[in-house]
Amino acid sequence: EKADPQKTALLLRKAWTLYSVTPLYGFRRARLRDYARLLGAFIAAEKQKGLAVEVGVELDIKVALSSLADIRGSELDQAALLVQLSSRSRGSSRNSEDKPLWWGWFCSVFGEELSENVPEPFTCLPLFLSHGAESYTALVGSWFQKTFDCCFRRLAISPLNLSWMVAMWAGCKLDRAASAVELVFSVPRLAQPLEISYAIHPEDAKALWDTVQKTPGEITQEEVDVFMDCLYAHFHRHFKIHLSAAKLVKISTAIASAHCDGIVKILHSQYLPGVLMLLTELAISQIQ
């Protein structure tokens, strides 16, 4: 499971906005250069039409498509596909250093549930992650939708799924000092929106999870419930507030952080496949 460290470094420590994508029709891995050219032409044409993405600065948008061969769960998964948009300022006469503008990548980690039921000409890469201006995401998204007849949908994360993530990730073993486990709640039905942030020492959180989890490597809904109930009870004891009545909107651990609007940041390369596997599962349930 060794990944190319340079490419993987690109994926870490960035806030990615999540989407689910239906299978791509007629996608050919060998034609990546052609696709990059076509996408570049599409973006240039849209800018000509006046749907400018950046006002004022004259930018040439360069498109690069590449495969991330190591980002997959098993041989049954398609390798991940990375799309990079960079700008080259037309005016500069000096060395043309491309400035990265936007990244987007498609992936599937243990997504057999979707791909095994899908016929030949379709390619399954159900999870899409983007970082950069929303306008570029819209441009790239609409080109892919037109070219491969697929559909992108924002992937939101429910409080139920967020609690799975925090339980799983707080329980992970880390060699160096880890950052705090943080849960952010939003309190409903108030005149002024109120957010409650609950930070837990990572060792305490891991110790709690270790007493709850019965079989290493397996997690059940009951175990996640017990873990969360302990956290809620502890908070109630001190502050007399029932966090279980509030909405869990964001969780943060040393491994990764996730927001209910479908925004994720992965911090640790060792756990990248695990996080992607969970997100792939969420994307597939949204598609089906």
Partner: protein, 131 residues
Amino acid sequence: HLATSLPLPSERDHLRPRIDLVVFMIDIKSKYSLKNVETSLAYVDASFFLGKVCFLVTGVGRVNACSIETNAVCKLGETYCSPVLFCELELEGVRTATAQRLVQILRICAGHIPGVSALSFVSLMRKSDDD
């Protein structure tokens, strides 16, 4: 009559009319509401569970705001032999339809529908769930 939890305050016992139906409301966005219902169930006399109790799960329209697993609620319904209704109060049509269903169940529980008792009605609902 609305209450945020059970048991009901005993001071008003002598003024209270006969209770024909207890509807436990669970908000799918609030884990706390499920816990509250689970605690309150302990204060309900066993005879009510012969068709005079039902669970109403609200907020089901918002899939992305789920804090409770649907299975957990269905299991609750099975454990207490009572039907579970799902609805979305924010949609007027569903709100009205749900209210009508509850009123109909209440009529049966109060004995206003000749030939149908609360117990027979609940066994009918259970049979159709199993199918």
